[in-house]
């Protein structure tokens, strides 16, 4: 186990290094400078300002300076938020995105499992059909459409929830719901398919023959076995949700990281692009590692070893 972990951590660092390198050079291929007032500066003014930021040096030198900075624990200063440390920017923007992502994840997965289980148990009844319709809608309706509808009906028309803003728990509900639809739909479809299989297997027949209650069978035997493959789904899903959604954050005026990342690319804010990319990659790697570890714990058939046999 320890050997396995060490090996995985080594790969994690290697992955991050490759991601950082590739991002750095791709980013430098983008035209333009990170200057905000670029349209009004003459070439000599631009050159003087760029020199202040060390952007006049050859790209390879900038690369080594940047990587060196990372080893010293610095992600640099943002350009779009003049002189704001990128680590502070990510730190303060990450919280809301992670909170929304986490909440959406919990709601989506819990209700998805219920919906999927109901669909599987009541296969081919009206309950199953409703569950299927909900999951198809959840996948087909883009989150921004849902966000706009939720904002208009539950925010403006009924006044139940705040329309937009970020001043407490009440403000997180609509964006959470908008984000939860897709994981809910995906979980429901996944669980339903898996449970339909499990429910027709021999050991379920045996449990039934033993005279176990219907709930007992579903809960102890069918559902728990169907949950194992879910773990595979949850890792990347969590990463996708927690890295923030630009559209949902914009619609509900959430101070999250999703939009910052997109904007930093548009305005050539190099340090922010790098910082957020590295952070996202690290998050994804760690979540995948966790998924694998959890897998090993809940499914005894899978053993974690460094040999991969």
């Amino acid at each position: 186990m320890r050997k396995y972990l060490l090996k995985r951590i080594f790969y994690l660092i290697l992955t991050l290094f490759i991601v950082a390198t590739a991002t750095f050079f791709l980013m430098k291929l983008m035209p333009g400078t990170p200057l905000q007032n670029e349209a009004k500066l003459t070439p000599s003014e631009k050159a003087a300002i760029l020199a202040q930021y060390g952007l006049d040096k050859p790209v390879w030198m900038q690369y080594f300076i940047y990587i060196g900075g990372i080893f010293k624990g610095s992600l640099g200063l943002s350009f779009q938020f003049s002189d704001q440390a990128v680590s502070y920017l990510i730190g303060s923007r990450m919280g809301p995105s992670m909170q929304l992502g986490g909440q959406a994840m919990v709601i989506g997965v819990v209700f998805g499992i219920i919906l999927g289980a109901v669909g599987a148990i009541r296969k081919d009844t009206w309950a199953d059909r409703i569950a299927t319709i909900i999951s198809i809608l959840g996948i087909a309706v883009p989150s921004f459409v849902l966000a706009i509808l939720l904002q208009f009906y539950l925010g403006l028309k009924t006044g139940w929830f705040p329309v937009a803003g970020w001043q407490g728990f009440l403000y997180t509900i609509l964006p959470t719901l908008a984000l939860a639809a897709s994981p809910l739909a995906e979980t429901a479809r996944f669980i339903r398919t898996d449970m339909v299989d499990v429910l027709s297997s021999d050991y379920i027949e045996l449990a039934r023959a033993k005279g176990l209650s219907k709930f007992g069978i579903v809960y102890h035997h069918a559902l728990r076995n169907s949950l194992i493959p879910m773990v595979t789904l949850i890792g990347p899903l969590a990463a996708a949700l927690m890295t923030g959604s630009m559209v949902v954050e914009n619609i509900f005026s959430v101070p999250g990281i999703g939009e910052q990342f997109v904007k930093s690319i548009l305005v050539n804010d190099y340090p922010t692009i790098m910082g957020v990319t590295i952070f996202y990659s690290a998050l994804l790697c760690v979540l995948l590692l966790l998924t694998d570890i959890i897998y090993g714990i809940i499914d005894p058939r899978i053993r974690l070893s460094g040999n991969g046999d």
Binding site: T42, Q84, L266
Partner: protein, 549 residues
């Protein structure tokens, strides 16, 4: 089992949270503006509160209302006294002596003195600060050399003579110097505070000090809401009526409208779709900006055939006549923007003698007229003159929704001309800029917005040696007129005005660029909000005299 309990707890918790939240109280739909309090929407984040580093609209708006320079820009760009009580101009317009008021204070209790101006100005031109607006200092003694790192910052033409006298020396008279003094990059800065916070100065509302009508609080440097509260240390606090102005960043227009309709905010910007439904609303208000969108031709095009075509006046005129601007602003834009009356924007500057708008004095109606018959005729003649039968030109612009609509409209209009084929190129903003500057385009839809309320902020762009003259417009007469306006006639308001009027006429008669429209913002602003001063150029909002009735 753990899994079992965990699943139960989460399910119950999730369900009850939703239920509880759904029982929340219903919001009232009245306005959020109560006595002396209002909430405004900002359309973008606040990137900085550092006076030297502000380049964007929102930091400029916030700084202008929380700080004050020698002058404050009032209604219609008028110059109102700020920290300066009295001004003497001597030495042929090259020396300004400002007497400062003694009752001006910073929000930390310090007095505002001439040294604060010296420090602030020196900090902005210091190459280490890397201010992107330092170029506005050009013309103040030694500013250009200091920005280039060739002279020490102490050599800047600004000296404190005691605490309340400030002497500024210029290299040559600058006709719009008083207007610059109302621009945030020329405001004083408190050295003690700036040094105390070091690199954190201006990165949060706390790491800043204020000498203007309001103080800012609640801005963490990255969040989306903050507050302006009345500054009791402000010298003219009697004039300030508002206790609190809340700001909420709202980037999505439909969110803005929902917030406005639910009474949470008192001002929002409308999209063109929303304008259609709210045009007759009593809260509807159009705010014009000094921003002109125009087509530039690349006279140095790599394609020799196109370079020849763009040098032909008849072809340029034909391309202008072909565009139905009225229809464009009405049906395609629909956001309150107006047809350009010329290159220099409307409501920017007034004739010093008659008070007439610059665009009225310098009008060349034919240059912005729609006439398809004439367009076809001129195009045919122009093509004959250059000996071609067909042209294939690319039209470059941004890749935003609005820019795409613009290129499609212009493409549609131009392709009605016989033998002309147009290909649209919609690219990201930074790409468009670098391609424009490198001359890698045929035609481009560009925008220019004025830094201060003087036509020269537009006109200086098209002198033949200007690095931002991307299309290489080259007219000796034009260059001469601009030179006179910035040099020989700088001290003679009327002669300078005539120079600029003639320069604009020259540019328009040449059809040097094709002006299309002037950008406006359509707002819903509650009628209860009074006294909001909006200027088209420089800093838009002056909220010193704002009130709620």
């Amino acid at each position: 089992m753990n899994l079992k309990t965990a699943a139960k707890v989460t399910a119950v918790a999730g369900a009850s949270l939703l239920f509880l939240a759904a029982c929340g109280s219903k919001n009232s739909s009245s306005s959020s503006s109560s006595k002396n309090t209002a909430t405004m929407a900002a359309q973008a984040e606040l990137p900085t509160m550092d006076l030297s580093k502000s380049t964007d609209v929102w930091s400029s708006n916030m700084l202008n209302n929380t700080n004050e320079g020698l002058y404050r820009i009032g209604k219609n760009g008028s110059i109102k006294p700020g920290i300066a009580k009295d001004t003497k101009v001597t030495n042929g317009g090259k020396t300004y002596t400002f007497t400062l008021r003694k009752n001006a204070k910073w929000s930390n209790g310090d007095k505002v003195t001439a040294k604060d101006f010296v420090y602030g100005w020196q900090r902005t031109v210091n190459p280490k600060t890397a201010s992107q607006y330092a170029y506005l200092y050009s013309g103040i003694e030694n500013a250009d050399q200091i920005v280039d790192g060739k002279k020490p910052v102490s050599s800047l033409g600004i000296k404190a003579d005691g605490d309340y006298k400030l002497v500024v020396t210029l290299e040559k008279p600058i006709a719009y110097f008083d207007k610059l003094m109302g621009f945030v990059n020329f405001f004083p800065q408190n050295e003690k505070v700036a040094k105390n916070y070091g690199s954190k100065y201006g990165t949060t509302s706390k790491a800043m000090v204020y000498n203007g009508p309001y103080k800012m609080s609640g801005w963490t440097g990255t969040n989306l809401s903050w507050k302006l509260t009345k500054n009791n240390d402000y010298w003219d606090k009697k004039a300030v009526k508002m206790d609190t102005i809340n700001y909420q960043v709202v980037k999505d227009n439909s969110t803005g409208l929902n917030l406005f309709n639910s009474g949470k905010i008192d001002d929002t910007v409308l999209s063109s779709q929303q304008v259609k439904n709210y045009k007759t609303n009593k809260n509807y208000k159009v705010r014009q900006t000094a921003s002109t969108f125009y087509v530039e031709f690349n006279r140095a095009d790599k394609d020799a055939k196109l370079a020849k075509a763009f040098k032909n006046k008849k072809i340029r005129q034909a391309l202008s006549y072909a565009i139905n601007r009225q229809q464009y602003v009405k049906s395609t834009l629909g956001d309150g923007s107006t047809v350009s009356k010329g290159y220099v924007s409307h409501n920017l500057a007034k004739n010093p003698e008659t008070g007439a708008d610059f665009t009225a004095d310098a009008a060349v109606p034919e240059a912005v007229k729609y006439d398809q018959t004439k367009a076809k005729q001129l195009f045919k003649e122009g093509m004959k003159e250059i000996g071609e039968t067909s042209l294939n030109i690319k039209l470059l612009s941004d890749d935003t929704e609005g820019a795409k609509k613009s290129t499609e409209f212009v493409q549609g209009a131009w392709e009605k001309l016989p033998g002309l084929k147009v290909t649209n190129q919609n690219v990201p903003f930074k790409t468009r800029l670098s391609r424009s500057q490198n001359g890698n385009f045929d035609t481009v839809i560009s925008a220019w917005n004025a830094d201060f309320t003087d036509p020269i902020s537009f006109l200086s762009l098209f002198t033949s040696d200007n690095s931002y003259n991307n299309g290489k417009y080259d007219s000796a007469e034009y260059d001469e007129l601009i030179k006179k306006a910035e040099g020989a006639d700088a001290n003679n308001k009327n002669a300078r005005w005539t120079d600029m009027v003639n320069a604009e006429k020259q540019l328009m008669n040449d059809e040097g660029v094709i002006p299309i429209y002037q950008k406006s913002e359509a707002h819903l602003t509650r009628t209860s909000l009074k006294g909001i001063i909006w200027n088209t150029a420089g800093t838009n909002y002056n909220l010193k005299y704002m009130s709620v009735k």
